[in-house]
Structure formats: structure tokens, C-alpha cells
């Protein structure tokens, strides 16, 4: 089943043509990885899936982005979209509040006031992000005092608390040490049972380890999009082969 269907997507930053005729389907409850050298458009594409590009002046988008068949650039309310499509950023960005308030942020935004309900959601989200045991005694502590890896998993918990269908991750481990990275990879694999996950990564081993499908981008084009195993063992495009064998990028 397809979660996202992208048809003839083009994107410009002012005069710069950042995405060119992208057509792709993103399958539900799978992990889809976007790889490619810097500036190839993979981050731009993931950001247009929850309309974060709207915040950038001079960004123009054409084509269809269908989420469960509904165009996300159509009548869908942008905040409702972002509730359904959560995002984890490259640099952990917890708010300067307590751990609890960070996780309770999205539920509060969407109107949940009951203390009991909030407690329940916070615990569930932290458990789902595999960080409950570490943080259950520190819920009142400032999130800024946590380590980088903990902060990132807290940000995942914060995204899960909005009860999304899709989780977008923009190089979520590039600022973390190998142990934290391993923990997050393990977590991401666990999460795909419930969520559709799209991850941008610079680390090809990471794409191989965790993803089901991989897209290779170059200069704004989707060069190759296939089952991860197939893409890495038998790439059909020469440029893709060059990239994954380390001849450039």
C-alpha cells in the first residue's frame, strides 16, 4: 500500500531548480531511505512532505503530493498535515523546557488538557522511543541537560506524541556518536511496525542496515529507486553504482 504518491514534482528556490520531475511512491509501514551527495535535493524533498519548505521565501512547488490519495498542497490544513506527518531534525532540537513539557507539546497543541491523559501520552511516547527507563525519574528536568543521543530520542518521542502516521527523519544520526546512532537505528526498525518512515541519510551503511526501499538522488533528480537490497547489489544506473561504490560523493 502506498502512503505517499508523488507525481511530476518540481521545486524551485527562486531560480534554482532543486527538484526535477520526481515521481515516486512511498510504501506504508516501511522504511524508505533517501541517499545521494550533498545538495542533491533529498533534504528538500523530505521537507516538502510536511510542507516545511513553506517557511522558506522564494520556494515554488508544482506537481502532486498525495498522502493517502489526498493532495497535501490542496485543501488539507497545514497543521493537521504536520500532525499526521511528524519530523525529526538533523540537530536534536528539544525546546528549553522540561522533558515532560517537550513530549506533551504536541498533545497540548492539539487540545489535550487533562493531566491524566497527558501523563499517559508522555509515558507511552517515551516508551515507544525506548527512552522511558532512562528518563522516567527526570521528567521535570530540563531537556537541554540531556546528552545529544538522549535529546534526539526525546525529539523522536516528541514527534510520536502527536500520534502521526508518518515519521520523516532528516539525517537524524549525523550529529551523534556511534552508540547513540545504533540505538536510534534499532528504534527506527522497531517503529516501522506502526509508522511509515522516510529517512535521509549520508551514511550508506545505515541505509542498507535499516531501509526497505532506497532512492538515489543526484542534482535534483531521482536517479534510481528500488528495493534496498537490489539497489545496493545490482544498481542499474552507472551514476548510482559509482556513488554507492564510493567513486564520488
Amino acid at each position: 500500500m502506498n502512503k505517499f504518491q508523488l507525481k511530476d514534482v518540481n521545486l524551485w528556490y527562486n531560480d534554482f531548480h532543486a527538484l526535477k520531475d520526481i515521481n515516486m511512491d512511498i510504501k506504508a509501514k516501511e522504511i524508505t531511505a533517501f541517499i545521494g551527495p550533498s545538495g542533491c535535493g533529498k533534504s528538500t524533498l523530505i521537507k516538502s512532505l510536511n510542507r516545511m519548505n513553506d517557511l522558506i521565501d522564494g520556494c515554488k512547488i508544482t506537481g502532486d503530493f498525495l498522502l493517502d490519495g489526498e493532495n497535501i498542497y490542496g485543501n488539507l490544513d497545514i497543521n493537521a498535515l504536520r500532525k499526521r506527518v511528524g519530523m525529526v531534525f538533523q540537530k536534536p532540537n528539544p525546546f528549553p523546557m522540561s522533558v515532560f513539557d517537550n513530549v506533551a507539546y504536541a498533545p497540548r497543541v492539539h487540545g489535550i488538557k487533562s493531566k491524566f491523559k497527558l501523563n499517559e501520552i508522555v509515558e507511552k511516547s517515551l516508551r515507544d522511543a525506548a527512552i522511558w527507563d532512562e528518563l522516567k525519574d527526570r521528567l521535570k528536568k530540563s531537556a537541554i541537560s540531556l546528552s545529544g543521543g538522549q535529546q534526539q530520542r526525546l525529539c523522536i518521542a516528541r514527534a510520536l506524541a502527536a500520534e502521526p502516521d508518518v515519521l520523516l527523519m532528516d539525517e537524524p544520526t549525523s550529529a551523534l556518536d556511534p552508540i547513540s546512532t545504533a540505538k536510534i537505528e534499532e528504534l527506527v526498525i522497531k517503529l516501522k511496525k506502526k509508522y511509515t518512515i522516510v529517512i535521509v541519510t549520508h551514511n550508506m551503511q545505515q541505509a542498507v542496515r535499516i531501509s526497505d526501499t532506497t532512492g538515489f538522488f543526484l542534482l535534483g533528480e531521482l536517479i534510481e529507486y528500488n528495493n534496498t537490497e537490489q539497489l545496493f547489489s545490482m544498481p542499474t544506473d552507472k551514476r548510482c553504482e559509482d556513488y554507492i561504490t564510493g567513486r564520488f560523493g
Partner: protein, 272 residues
């Protein structure tokens, strides 16, 4: 040789620091020595002492004018800063005009605000010399300070906070209210403290609008002097320098108190 050169550099730095500190301490000590001996119980606390023999009305008026001015200009100033930094499109002619107005207003000497206040509030609106006329004049005068420093405070809030909030489905207003503003509180508070200092120390604009009466005001349309204005008038009259020094001591103590108080509130508001 090299060691000597290094030491010489240290000595130069210490001389610089020393000069700065001695000047400051010198002024402070001079005022304390000349003023402290003339502070009496009546001077500080006796409400019923004859006019000019007690500071109670001036302390009251000063605090009242500070609070009322902040009540008007802080919401407007912080609101403008939020508009300029969070909502406005940079480069639009409207925004450029506002910015130019702010820059210009911040450069105008306070006596001109005083003249405006005198002509507009005191004469045209017939508020006479009154606390209200003083408050509304000073409120306009401090607006540029509040706007500019609040804007700096908002600019220093990392964009990652805003993005994080939007990505969770929060709207713009919610994001600003719950995430951006709390992070900007320390900076905004600094601007408030700066403003308090400016109001407490203001004379020119207030002499022309709130007047120089050294008595307790009975309502907001009464004329009454602040500490600084009182000091100005008795110094100009030259009749009683002792009381002028004593007033200066109280003025400094008041500023210290107001700043500490503002800091205390800031600590309460600041996210951990």
C-alpha cells in the same frame, strides 16, 4: 625581556581597569559621603512632613510613573518587536517606514518629547501638568528602546525551536507564545531594566509635562515631581545642596531595588 614585556602589558590593562573603577567608585563614594549624612527618618518616611522636607511623594511618583509607563509601552513595544521579527516581510515599504521611524525616534533628545508632551497633552488635551501627561510622554520616548532590544532578544532565539514547533503541527501564534517568547524573556527583561533606568533618570521630558510640585498627588491628573525632577529643581535653585545629595542616594538605591526586582521576576519567568 619577554617576561618584562608581558608584565608591562598586564600593567597597562590593570591601569585601564583601575581608572574605570576609580571613576565609578569615586562618583559613588562622593555622593554617598555627601548624601548619607543628610538622610533622616523624616526625609525618607514621614508623609506628613512639610513640602520639600520629605521624599515620600517623590518616591511614590517615581514608582508610579515607572509602572504606568511600562504598562503602556511594554506591551506595545514587545508587540511591535514580535511583529517586526516574526510576522513582517523584510523589505516591505511599510516595515522600512516603521524601522526608520524607530531609528529616528530613538535619536531625538528628550526635551523635544517634553515639548511635544507639553503642547499636546498639557495644552491641547488640557490635562494640565499631570502624572498622566508625564506618563504618556515618557511612554512614547522609551518605545524605541523597548522595540529594538526586544527585537534583538527575539532574533537570538534559535530557528530550530520554531521549526520544531511547526513540525509538531503548532500554529504561528502558539509557537511564538509557547516557545519563542519564553526563550526571549531574559533579553526582553534586559530591555525593561534599561527602560526603567531611563524613566527614573528622566528630567527634561517630565519637567515640562508632569511638573515640579514636591507634594503627594491626589489623583493621576495632579502634578508631581519624580526624584530626578525634584533633584533637578533644588539643584537649580541652589538653596539646599545637602538635600540634593541625599535625594541622589535615594535615587541610586531605588534604581538598584527596581533592577533587582526585575531580575527576580525574570528568573521566575525564565524556562529552566
Amino acid at each position: 625581556m619577554r617576561k618584562l614585556k608581558n608584565n608591562l602589558r598586564y600593567i597597562k590593562i590593570y591601569i585601564g581597569i583601575g581608572m574605570a573603577i576609580t571613576t565609578l567608585l569615586g562618583i559613588l563614594l562622593y555622593i554617598l559621603i555627601n548624601g548619607l549624612q543628610h538622610i533622616t527618618f523624616d526625609f525618607l518616611f514621614n508623609v506628613n512632613a512639610p513640602r520639600g522636607q520629605t521624599l515620600v511623594p517623590m518616591i511614590f511618583t517615581t514608582v508610579l510613573i515607572v509602572l504606568l509607563t511600562l504598562a503602556i509601552s511594554a506591551p506595545i513595544g514587545i508587540g511591535s518587536a514580535i511583529y517586526l521579527n516574526e510576522y513582517a516581510k523584510t523589505g516591505a515599504w511599510f516595515v522600512k517606514t516603521i524601522r526608520m521611524a524607530i531609528e529616528t525616534l530613538s535619536g531625538i533628545p528628550s526635551i523635544i518629547y517634553g515639548l511635544f508632551g507639553f503642547l499636546f497633552y498639557v495644552i491641547i488635551l488640557r490635562w494640565t501638568w499631570s502624572i498622566m501627561a508625564g506618563v504618556f510622554t515618557v511612554a512614547i520616548m522609551v518605545l524605541p528602546i523597548i522595540i529594538r532590544s526586544s527585537e534583538e532578544a527575539l532574533k537570538s532565539v534559535p530557528n530550530a525551536y520554531r521549526e520544531g514547533s511547526y513540525a509538531l503541527g503548532a500554529g504561528k501564534f502558539y509557537t511564538i507564545w509557547k516557545t519563542v517568547l519564553p526563550s526571549a524573556v531574559p533579553g526582553i527583561l534586559a530591555s525593561i531594566i534599561l527602560t526603567i533606568g531611563r524613566i527614573v533618570g528622566e528630567t527634561a521630558a517630565l519637567v515640562l509635562t508632569a511638573g515640579t510640585v514636591a507634594g503627594m498627588p491626589s489623583n493621576l491628573f495632579d502634578s508631581s515631581a519624580t526624584l530626578a525632577v525634584f533633584m533637578y529643581t533644588i539643584t537649580v535653585e541652589g538653596t539646599d545642596m545637602d538635600r540634593a545629595y541625599a535625594t541622589a542616594v535615594v535615587l541610586m538605591a531605588l534604581i538598584l531595588f527596581l533592577n533587582t526586582f526585575a531580575n527576580f521576576i525574570g528568573k521566575k519567568l525564565k524556562p529552566q
